[in-house]
Symmetry: C2
Subunit: 333 residues, 2 copies
């Protein structure tokens, strides 16, 4: 299939190996248009192919409960690397590596990197196979290239929507970051984690641009949300239901912390946190999100009330400071 | 609490009886604003109260998988009567009976019922305790009152969003229906099931009005959706994930029927069917919904492609006819 490697042969091989009769295909929104074609390929093996049509944002969000409820033998999860250790249902991860060339976009990024000698190289799972090529282009242009590897991610240099440790860990060694990949999402995360100049080399649009203005806007919004939440009396503490977003113990600690500082707190369990979710609880003044920190950061403007990350709530309670968040970035504890 | 009976004492008694440590509160959108108060009452027992903040539309949609995932001992499900026989997690149903008086609204309905002698009396679970009072007002005005009881529902005279058997079963005995309750939702279901005049006595607004014009509009939309789907080549067959909406065998039969008539069909599993869900699958021309028939009927205008009920798809395939649907109503098989 055009644009990405869907590893159809490996999938069919796994189905045969496991004698899987019911196969659940799960993928993020950008890949869903390909799902019907992939289902047809899987049907060739004789298995029943079921497409998960619910939203999916990451490796944290693997469809174990859907699979268990439908007697599925194998989950094929596309577009993310493996994140959770224990599998409730046999699962394979098809990372959907992009086939697009990155050369032109990285060459164009050199102009934006001209004032920096040491560059941190970072990418999403789709473009990991291009890191060597990107490194070569940068080295040829005289840059010192640093690729982080904290061991937290599946691969060196990889970032996901909520984990920028491979970028953060090399902060002191680099003057700027180059993110290879499409869209602002991951690069914005780097800029929110490190406060260093962050350049995107987008191989789909074949262009390069800097992202720090957008990050500053989000920092300003987050600061305003924290200030607003300081006046809140009643807090809703979101507990995620997706396998990698379920942190009930953390939510209970946060509720206890809120109550210790004279606030009232309620536990709210959710699959998706949407603006509509908040409208159902008019008596709640602000929310603390223990599920997916990215939802808080991306959607400030959409939510009618502050939806804080755990770190931000600690600032509200006086257990941390805004300066500390700026130093550690919006994702680290 | 004002307006509804939340049976706080029964809930606390059940928590003590079961020694429940974690209690999940689940309720439809209209009752969610009361959830924080109810959570505080439950906390008095020493149990942890967790509010389910995801959408909930009926007794079919009980939060077993949420409860199992969070180690919950007891689900308190508000606003619906028990629908599913087997409970995966201990559950109690608090039907949230309304305390509002129905007298004025039913008196007002008499004018609209003046041309009919025999009246089918129907209500939602919130107002079941007022059926005797409503019957008395109608009888005093010279009406013959009929209350259906097919044994499919928890109570005689009760209808839910997708089951109108208590209305349908008395169709040949009545000239019109009186629905006692708020909003158009249930009354519209009666009109879509029976094609008899249907009057609402709304005790919240203290007014009475007829609903058949809105039902005709929906019948027209449904007919148009069926016509449009006759040109469709690729169908998505929705399989619900909520406990009472999970009909994989039915979906497999529908897929086989589609394929028998030369169409292509894909199984799509979903928690919520939204307009956004459809946008992810541009190659699919039309959908068949084995999850919640009401979603198809209510939201015609919102969806960019036809989302047919199973019965409607049988018309597309020539296994049933539009006349048959008109006769049986939009909910019966």
């Amino acid at each position: 299939m055009l644009g990405f490697d869907f590893e159809e042969e490996r999938i069919l091989h796994e189905i045969t190996k496991l004698c899987a009769k019911r196969v659940l295909l799960q993928m993020p929104e950008g890949l869903k248009p390909q799902a019907p074609k992939l289902a047809k390929i899987i049907e060739k093996s004789g298995a029943i192919a079921i497409i998960s049509a619910d939203p999916c944002y990451g490796g944290c969000d693997i469809a174990y409960s859907e699979a268990e409820g439908l007697g599925v033998d194998l989950i094929v999860h596309f577009g993310h690397s493996k994140m959770l250790k224990d599998a409730a249902v046999p699962s394979i991860y098809v990372e959907a590596r992009a086939t697009v060339s990155i050369d032109e976009a990285v060459e164009k990024a050199l102009t934006l990197l001209k004032n920096y000698t040491s560059v941190g190289l970072v990418t999403s799972v789709q473009h990991l196979q291009t890191l060597d090529q990107a490194r070569e282009i940068l080295t040829r242009a005289g840059k010192t290239v640093v690729i982080g590897d904290t061991g937290q991610m599946a691969y060196p240099g990889q970032v996901t929507g909520c984990n920028y440790s491979n970028a953060k860990s090399i902060e002191h060694k680099v003057e700027a970051y180059l993110f290879v990949g499409g869209g602002m999402f991951h690069a914005l995360g780097i800029a929110l984690s490190t406060s260093k100049p962050t350049i995107i080399a987008d191989p789909y649009d074949n262009r390069a641009y800097q992202i720090n203005f957008e990050a500053r806007k989000i920092f300003n919004q987050r600061f305003a949300c924290i200030q607003e939440a300081k006046n809140a009396k009643k807090f809703g503490v979101f507990v995620g239901l997706k396998p990698g977003q379920k942190h009930l113990d953390n939510a209970l600690q946060i509720k206890a912390l809120a109550e210790k500082t004279g606030k009232t707190a309620f536990l709210l369990t959710v699959r998706e946190i949407t603006p509509e979710t908040l409208l159902e609880f008019p008596s709640i003044d602000a929310y603390i999100n223990t599920a997916c920190p990215r939802v808080s950061l991306e959607a400030s403007g959409k939510f009618q009330k502050p939806v804080l990350t755990v770190n931000e709530f600690k600032v509200v309670c006086g257990e941390s400071s805004w300066e500390n968040i700026l130093k550690k970035g919006l994702f680290e504890n």
